[in-house]
Amino acid sequence: MKISINQMFRNYNKWCFGLLSMALTVFTFNSTAQGDALFKAKCASCHNPHKDNTGPKLFQVRAKWADGGAKEGSIYTWVNNWQNAAATDPYAKAVSAWSPTAMTAFPELSVEQINSILDWVDEQPLPGAAGPADDGGLTTEVVGETEETSNTWMWVLLGAIFFTVIAAIGGVRRQLNNATALAEGKDVNDGASYLDEFKSWAYYNKGKVGVSAMLIVLTLAVWGLQGLGNIGVVSGYQPSQPIEFPHSVHSGINGIDCKYCHNSVDQGKSAGLPTVNVCMNCHKQIKGNTPDQIAKISKIYDAAGFNPEGAGSYTGKTKPIIWNKVHALPDHVYFPHSQHVNIGGIDCKQCHGDMTQQKETAKIQPIEELNKIEGNVKLTRPTLTMGWCIECHGEKEISTGPIDTKGGGYYAEIHKRLLNNDRKLYDEYLKDGKVTVKELGGWECAKCHY
């Protein structure tokens, strides 16, 4: 079922040549950061600078429109709402015939923002200029990834050797004792077994034995209790999936924004698994180049009821994809994504880690990795445990310093009440220069369990 990471990468190198090179240029040129970010968030799912995708290629598109006789500024109207542009500009009307798929309206983009996107696009070099050079780099990285070997077995082996040596020495001592006794004409102490000897030895050294036994028992107890705390803590859970989904390709190489697929992350409790129609937005065009890729992508077509032959058509025979859930919180835990994303302003990677590197769907990264992310509170407990949640709630601030109580916001009102009614408590909260989630009740049971 699973293919090795190396193999996977070789495949990718073959078939996403254009995309890869585009993505690599992303890392090379960072001059128009805003345009870069906006392109990834809004455009990358359908457009490519140098290649026709769901939408047409965007390289030098402004010049193209001007040459084609488009009205001044109608390209901006087009981006805001293509229908308005098509209604007023004959060139735009001609463009609207490009594809049966209508372009999404982006009324929120200003002219400057659109310009920054297009500036960034125009800066992208033609494919072929940088691609192959970096290929080796990636391969090296993959080769460099060696499996961590456990040294538990070494300890077991060493222990066994020591035990054998001790037993052998003990045996020799016994033989010698017996021999001495025989020589001196005494009774050969055949009856005394190892156990009896151990008992008498322990009896004579009862102080030391007692203390060390107590230490051993205590150590075992502590170790055992700690172990109990780790029950159910599964990090790196990585169930096999019906369709391999490399985040590294989608959000890494292609730079698709997380929210494009997990689009309920700012609306509801769950971020949402992308529905098959979302996959089809891109994969209607991207059909794969090698038989292997075609086979995998055809699974999406099966689910969507899509016949890729020719221009492609929907048969209507859909079947849902049954994924294996990676993050399964217990039923009594209510974790709202929207609250954390909208109110807390937390970026996806702050909890999930850098998904652009993840090659196979897996649970969020271990705490050590998350602590490396800039802006993250440094935490110690394993991820996705309650300890992890409340540790963050205890550290993370809702506001730094006294909040502006003049505004009408939710927290402004809460701070106002604190300030007016219990100044002492408020000052206590602000001792560390911030009001934490915990201080406003973020550690209370019924905030997450009901």
Binding site: L228, S264, P320, I321, D331, G409, Y410, R417, L440, H449
Partner: protein
């Protein structure tokens, strides 16, 4: 010394019987030791030794540990094509309309991931103004009823629509060819578009006005034909007028339970409630003359007990006093009733046209008297609108009766269709009718279940559930509304209208996503709605708005005064109900109604608002009438006496329930029970269950129904159904165990829990007269004793919830609460409260998070201590107590977790499973709870519930708990944990809604406002008696409400600082005893809490 009257929960408590005293003193019985427990079950011999026990323990710990290491693989299945208006995890609300033939309401349906899970009233649209009732809210469970038919059947065998359609079409053609007759029996149809379908069917049969080959009979289980008939005779037109209770300063109801069941109670309750505010412009005055203690009667300011046959006497007595005597009709009344009638006359004279007289009888003669009285008062055109005619309740009793007799006589039509009716159950001669159905060539039912009628039909063509179907309604002339589907049909069912059209040849079968009937509705709305208006230009916009609101704008129909035909009054006397030594009054319970939802376990377990009995039907009788012959008290192990009620040849044996307020010489029996008496498969919850699960079976091996079918006692009187009559009663041997909820707790003389006063005292005296605040004595800085309010005494440090952050609070207006039980069902639906069944309720283990306490009080004993018979022997003592229990007044009091800021439950929990939040919530952490139940012991309100069993899996509850079946489980609210065995649970203040409401405010970057946070109970309350909000928001409604002079906290003297306030009940009547007592109390300085301040005194002295 108490501030108000003495309140008692039941006759046993009032009379302080030895059993009651024993139970009270041993509320927490001595525990059984493990040895005793094991011995009892004979387990002792086989019980494992200590070592074995340790082995098992060790093994299970190890096994559990190992098992826990393996994380189970959970599947996640996204949509292929996500519907536009569904976002996983977010509820979508749809406006719709509820109509079941009995109740009508504009509703909002909450759906999660496409599943409807909660129904509440639509406060913004429609004349019901957000008003619903328990049955409407509980109807969402009926959608997931696994006993519903999922495909059409022929002679009990599953078949398919194509076959059924072919055969029925052929049958219709045959009937038409030979000129035969077809009859459609339906409940009152108020859907304009359904008439199109019926017309199509009629045309296919070849029925015309002349030949009468197609007959449509409308028949309701509970008929109101008497009103139509009376109006025909009084005003020359058969109609039901629109009553407006919000305009009536004086309301006189003669046997009409207008807040529960009678006519359009969903409209009246809200109107009535809007005039029960003592601070409002005016407060209405309500007189009730009735036989059974009804919900309406329990809320009346003055209530008189009369026999059903005396209803005419009351009206005639008032007419006589108003100067319009009716010849031939007796005006004789009992002395107490005369007293109340005189008061009513006085009030009616004062309010004149702003009065409303309603009569509950279905006897046209009684209704004519009520019409005359309303005419005399001038109520027409003020409180009664004859132009806005009610389209509901069109029962044609006479026509139905003739038809039934024809069928029984073998002269029936060639084909009968039943739509929305179950006459085999609801007719007095239903059994004969059911047998006679086999003589009809083709019988078709649209019922969702193979019920009493449908199981005798050739074909059952199951209709959609109301939440699966499009429909339109016109409940009254001025109003049009739409019901829209909130889920794709679960089974392979079809709209009854579509079936009729298919057989009529005007439509094709469309399958699950059929648009056939929808197209009829839209074309009707286009033709009669869109085309005749000018405000909206586009049809799409018009229709979109209509569906969004679920109603179209009302047309205004001004009221006019009709001309009363005096001739209607002549010869009335002979048409009135006959007097009898014993008379029965049949009534509808708030939960069961006429029995359509008898298989709904929520409704079966809803305690009757008055008797608090669940899962049963019984005879209500006044304790005075019961005397010493019947068992007056009952508990877990003591049942009630049985008696047989006999009317003519029909009889039924039921337990006799002591019901204070039941008119002497009358008994009451509820309709709607005894469903599925011949083992019809209408759902397992409609039948009695055994102690360890499974149905109780009768001698034929059929499951035994709950209660008996009281429709057998329905009679015909002058062409209309009558719901009362003369009976005889014989006590039977044996007793019957009853499961009632309110015998489980005792008041323990904490009478301050209810505060009540009269409007006179409220208006003229200051707060200390009717709502005196508790005070304790303390030493001031000079060492003098001074009075200080309770708030100053703290055993603990205060929680920082008083001023900072939020403090969620609730006020419950006892003046608004009518005890209907809608809040209880809404809570059950919202919070996944399990159903436990009769046996468990009997043991006091009901799980309802919210209960409605019903307290009786009588004017005769105005206060504790004013009774002088404590030392009398039991027998003479009972005699003395009889008057008190005869006709008491009633207070309904919703009781749920008070989220005390100094909660006694929190301090005794050994594992900190119940803790206090900084928003004032008493939180329950199920995962921590180890089930010691200390908290329940320590709760002064007794609102904590313990999960004795695994209700979602234990076999005892398989029949009754919907969560045990894959379909039934769909109704569970995914935002609330389903609790497991061994943990405590209780009202959470709908914390899931609080969290949601806060998030809404946070995302909108504004403070929480009124309306962001509501609880299920406050959503459901028809009179808006329950208000919820942030108490720390000084401008919030809840804060204003709790600062009101009527507001008090139950058991405030215990010092637990609850977050719930009640508002003193103000009755609009004269009550000299109570007024006197409250006056006297006011003069008295601070007497009466000697104990409390004594203790406090001692404590402070140590400082």
């Amino acid at each position: 010394m108490e501030l108000t009257k003495k309140y008692w929960k039941g006759v046993d408590e009032l009379k302080e019987t030895p059993e009651f005293l024993q139970n009270r003193d041993e509320e927490f019985p001595k525990g059984t030791t493990v040895d005793e427990f094991l011995n009892e079950d004979g387990v002792a011999e086989s019980s494992p030794a200590r070592r074995d026990f340790l082995k098992f323990l060790g093994f299970s710990v190890a096994a559990a540990t190992v098992a826990a290491c393996e994380a189970p693989v959970v599947k996640a299945i996204p949509y292929v094509n996500k519907p536009e208006n569904v976002t996983p995890g977010i509820a979508t609300w749809y406006a719709s309309t509820y109509y079941d033939g009995n109740s009508y309401a504009s509703i909002l349906v909450k759906t999660r991931e496409g599943r409807p899970i909660f129904i509440k009233g639509n406060k913004e649209q429609g004349f019901t103004k957000g008003n619903t009732n328990a049955q409407i809210i509980a109807s969402v469970l009926g959608l997931y009823d696994s006993s519903r038919l999922t495909s059409p059947t022929k002679n009990g065998k599953v078949t398919n629509w194509t076959a059924v359609d072919g055969e029925i079409k052929k049958a219709i053609a045959d009937v038409k060819a030979k000129g035969g007759k077809v009859t459609l029996v339906s409940n009152s149809i108020i859907s304009p578009s359904t008439y199109n379908a019926i017309k199509a069917l009629g045309a296919a049969v070849g029925g015309t006005e002349e030949n009468g080959n197609f007959e449509h009979i409308q028949y309701d289980a509970q008929s109101y034909a008497g009103i139509r008939k009376a109006n025909m005779e009084s005003f020359g037109e058969a109609f039901i007028p629109d009553y407006d209770f919000s305009k009536a300063k004086t309301i006189v109801s003669v046997g009409a339970d207008f807040m529960s069941g009678w006519l359009m109670s969903t409209q009246y309750t809200n109107q009535y409630g809007s005039r029960r505010n003592p601070d409002g412009e005016w407060m209405n005055k309500h007189f009730q003359f009735e036989s059974n203690m009804s919900i309406t009667g329990s809320n009346a300011d003055n209530r008189a007990m009369i026999k059903p046959s005396e209803q005419a006497n009351v009206l005639a007595y008032m007419l006589k006093a108003m100067g319009a005597p009716v010849s031939g009709v007796s005006t004789e009344l009992s002395k107490p009733a005369t007293k109340i009638a005189d008061l009513a006359i006085k009030a009616l004279r004062e309010s004149k046209a702003a009065s409303l007289v309603v009569a509950g009888s279905n006897n046209a003669a009684v209704q004519i008297l009520a019409n005359k009285l309303n005419m005399k008062l001038g109520a027409y055109a003020t409180t009664i609108n004859i132009n806005d005619k009610v389209n509901m309740f069109q029962s044609e009793d006479d026509k139905m009766n003739k038809f039934v007799n024809k069928v029984i006589g073998g002269k029936g039509p060639d084909m009968i269709l039943f739509c929305g009716v179950n006459p085999a159950y609801s007719l007095p001669n239903g059994d004969k009718f059911a047998m006679a159905l086999s003589k009809i060539k083709t019988t078709i039912s649209f019922s969702a279940h193979p019920d009493e009628t449908a199981s005798k039909c050739t074909y059952i063509c199951p209709d959609h559930h109301a939440l699966e179907a499009w429909n339109d309604f016109s409940p009254k002339a001025s109003h049009y509304s739409i019901a829209q589907p909130t889920i794709r049909p679960i089974g392979n069912t079809a709209a009854a209208q579509e079936s009729m059209m298919v057989w009529g040849g005007t439509a094709k079968r469309g399958g699950k996503d059929s648009k056939e009937y929808y197209n009829v509705i839209t074309s009707n709305w286009k033709q009669f709605g869109f085309d005749v208006q000018t405000e909206v230009a586009s049809w799409d916009e018009y229709w979109g708005m209509a569906v969004h609101n679920s109603v179209s704008p009302d047309t205004i129909m001004p009221a006019t005064v009709p001309i009363f035909n005096e001739g209607a009054l002549s010869g009335l006397a002979s048409k009135l109900p006959k007097k009898g030594k014993w008379e029965v009054a049949l009534y509808q319970k708030a939960g069961i109604g006429v029995g359509d939802q008898a298989n709904n376990p929520w409704l079966q377990e809803l305690p009757d608002p008055i008797s608090k009995v669940t899962w049963d039907n019984y005879i209500t009788m006044n304790p005075t009438d019961m005397g010493n012959d019947y068992q007056l008290t009952f508990d877990q192990e003591t049942g009630l006496s049985l008696a047989t009620v006999k009317m003519g040849a029909k009889s039924m044996t039921l337990p006799v329930y002591p019901s204070p307020g039941q008119a002497l010489g009358t008994v009451g029996v509820a309709l709607g029970y005894g469903r599925g008496a011949n083992g019809e498969k209408i759902g397992t919850a409609a039948f009695q269950t055994k102690e360890y699960g499974g149905a109780v079976e009768d001698e034929n091996g059929n499951p035994k129904p709950i209660g008996a079918n009281a429709f057998a006692f329905v009679g015909m009187e002058n062409g209309t159904m009558s719901y009362n009559g003369e009976v005889s009663i014989n006590k039977e041997e044996g007793s019957y165990l009853i499961a009632a909820t309110q015998i489980h707790h005792t008041v323990m003389a904490r009478n301050s829990i209810v505060k009540e006063t009269t409007l006179g005292t409220y208006k003229s005296k200051d707060q200390s007269a009717y709502n005196k605040k508790w005070t304790l004595q303390k030493l001031d800085e000079h060492g003098n004793h001074v009075e200080a309010p309770m708030a100053e005494f703290d055993l603990w440090d205060a929680h920082p919830v008083e001023k900072i952050g939020h403090r969620w609070a609730m006020t419950v207006d006892l003046n608004g609460c009518i005890g209907c039980g809608a809040c209880l069902i809404a809570c059950q639906s919202e919070n996944n409260v399990p159903v436990v069944g009769k046996d468990e309720v009997r043991r006091g283990r009901e799980m309802h998070w919210l209960r409605i306490d019903r307290y009786f009080a009588s004017d005769i004993e105005a206060a504790v201590g004013s009774r002088k018979d404590h030392d009398l022997s039991k027998i003479s003592f009972m005699d003395a107590a009889e008057d008190t229990a005869e006709n008491p007044t009633v207070v309904h009091m919703p009781m749920m977790c008070h989220h005390c800021n100094h909660a006694p439950c929190e301090t005794v929990c050994p594992v900190a499973a119940t803790t206090h939040s900084n928003e004032g919530l008493n939180q329950m952490t199920y995962n921590r709870c180890i089930g010691t139940r200390y908290c329940a012991n320590n709760c002064p309100y007794k609102v904590r519930r313990f999960n004795w069993f695994n209700y979602p899996s234990y076999k005892k509850f398989t029949e009754i708990n919907p969560a045990q079946d894959d379909l039934g489980r769909m109704v569970l609210n995914p935002d609330v944990t389903v609790r497991t065995r061994g943990v405590m649970e209780k009202c959470s203040f709908c914390v899931q809604r609080i969290q949601e409401g806060k998030l809404v405010a946070k995302e909108a970057e504004r403070p929480v406002m009124d309306g962001d946070v509501t609880t299920a109970c406050s959503d459901a309350c028809p009179t808006n008696a329950i208000i919820v909000g942030d108490w720390n928001d000084l401008k919030s409604i809840v804060r204003t409400s709790s600062d009101d002079k009527r507001a008090y906290q139950a058991l405030e003297e215990v010092g637990i600082k609850p977050n719930i306030w009640y508002k003193t009940k103000v009755r609009n009547h004269e009550n000299k005893e109570l007024a006197g007592l409250q006056q006297e109390h006011k003069v008295e300085a601070h007497g009466g809490h000697g104990e409390a301040h004594g203790e406090d005194h001692g404590k402070k002295a140590h400082h």
